[in-house]
Symmetry: C2
Subunit: 339 residues, 2 copies
Amino acid sequence: MADLKTKKVSLKDIAQRAGVSTALVSFALNGKDKEHRISEETVRHILQIAKELNYKPNIAAKNLRSGKSGTIGVVIPDISNPFFAQIVRGMEDVAARLGYTVFFGSSDEYASKLQGLVESLINRGVDGLIIAPCEHSEEFLQQLVESNVPIVQFDRPYKEIESSYVALNNHRAAYLATSHLIEAGFHRVGMVAYDISLSHMQERIEGYKAAMEHHGLKSEITIGYAKSDNVRKSTAKVIARMKEKGVDALFFATNTISVAGLYAVSEQKIAIPHELGLVGFDGSDAFELYATSLSYIKQPIEKLSSKAVEILVNMLEDDNSTIQSVLIDGELIVNASSS
Amino acid sequence: MADLKTKKVSLKDIAQRAGVSTALVSFALNGKDKEHRISEETVRHILQIAKELNYKPNIAAKNLRSGKSGTIGVVIPDISNPFFAQIVRGMEDVAARLGYTVFFGSSDEYASKLQGLVESLINRGVDGLIIAPCEHSEEFLQQLVESNVPIVQFDRPYKEIESSYVALNNHRAAYLATSHLIEAGFHRVGMVAYDISLSHMQERIEGYKAAMEHHGLKSEITIGYAKSDNVRKSTAKVIARMKEKGVDALFFATNTISVAGLYAVSEQKIAIPHELGLVGFDGSDAFELYATSLSYIKQPIEKLSSKAVEILVNMLEDDNSTIQSVLIDGELIVNASSS
DNA sequence: ATGTTCGGCTATATCGTTTAAGCATAGGGT
DNA sequence: ACCCTATGCTTAAACGATATAGCCGAACAT
């Protein structure tokens, strides 16, 4: 059985039992028997003994010798955010399929925490990293890239940094959401966003603006900013202010804002969609179960997570792999809140 | 900077630069200078050079030599389940504070997957494991314990197995929820559970029964079972059947059932709480945002996760630590669905 | 002078793998 | 008879950190 305390079986044990050298055992066990011209019989013999003794290679020794760990690090803002929980789940599965194991860490959107996590993951010996950047971490990521650390940026890449990245096509998604509201008859469409410089947010804002402009509604641009350290309260305030300004529909830029938004319209007893049309982001049971189910932009979680892992692993295993920038389209799910 | 590709600084480099042996450097860096009577000046010198060269110990080498990895494995049913996502987040934080890093894996409630994950985590060299068992995994866990693998069972322990465990006091929680419904005036209280043998579920069922009996409602026991592979549909069926039987309130045994239950009462247009009183489990934004906010048993996530990690680490670091069985009380959050 | 002690340090084996280099034997060609 | 080659295997160095055993010289006691 698997055992952590009693002495483990090593190559040496197998070698002794088989009456051969450890090198031969290593070759046989790693399928390098052809390459090293080992007789078929010896190979069979070795493999059998290895099985009998229930041999499990010592990964620490392997790592030490090879300089690789079969491990990747993933840094996200917060694993208790359902969106990232699902992302992580996807990465876990894909990584396992590709023979890797994953370490996770939550940055809480703090550059300092992100940096600490990345350094600790590197010290732990990860072969590469998938990182969802946060504000003020651009310089650090740039350094990582310059130090040849294999990384894939995720969800909110700094696109100027010369690294691979995987993200939603945020511009198009926001454009889609906004256009949908406009075409559903709402003409004073506002947006609730976070006031941060990260690319995903900026592009969602740009997408919203583009849709407004494209429909000749340029002048009515109304963007309110929620505060990430107190989403519930600040979103409520923003919504109240928007309503006063005569906004008749809102596009929520993230899932946290969407949930906060639902709390707010519920508390402020705003009738959806008659008094206010709504489109949210990311999806949640709360969206569907809200009295008036919330329309939203659905991110292709599987695709996003698997693509990120695949690109990283490709990078690790294929020396002449090139930088890949992947944008994946979101889908608009139309529910009762916007029609 | 942190770097994965260029050569790393080793003890040897420091030793050479300082004109001493690697042993001395190792001692100095690990604070064993007193123990090995190294002159203060030498220590200072070594530490300074280490800092200058930005020395980071090679963890693989450390692991190989020490047989420890500073790593713990966590196996849960599904990290994309918000309850476990939060749990995992808690464990991540506590483990980091105690100097450990965490590997996660999702079993999807399959014993075979759980076994595979555990074995792969052990091969990766984790020092110990926190495991949320699933059905049919008792024998395997028993073997782990017998093989001296340090484990802490979590959330739904096999209590007969001689290992530490951390879980909610499920009996009391279910008793609390059921009593609350009864005392709120509902007298034909049913329960929707999963038909599984795991301890958390059995104890929730027992707690429900105990509350019913205690209030002289023994005869009315009505337990319906949802199917975990199709929670939405089966829960809807169960609820419809219960309604026909004249049940006037329901206690949902898990968060997945609770969410499915809300979908069901919404689709079946059942008025909450007038036609049906409800109490759910675990909490979710959907609970609060539902037209009639759902009362629920709230699990003390922080406590549960930190306790589990602490017990495991204690086990790893203190040779004469004993088995600990921890039950933590849940809290009843009363909302509109039960009054 | 000789032995003892002790402060300060070094040499080296070890953990379990991988792998470059090389050894020994058998068979083939000349 | 000789060299050459292919085959099948071994030896031993490395990866980087840790820790045991022990060396050297100075200070002290006798």
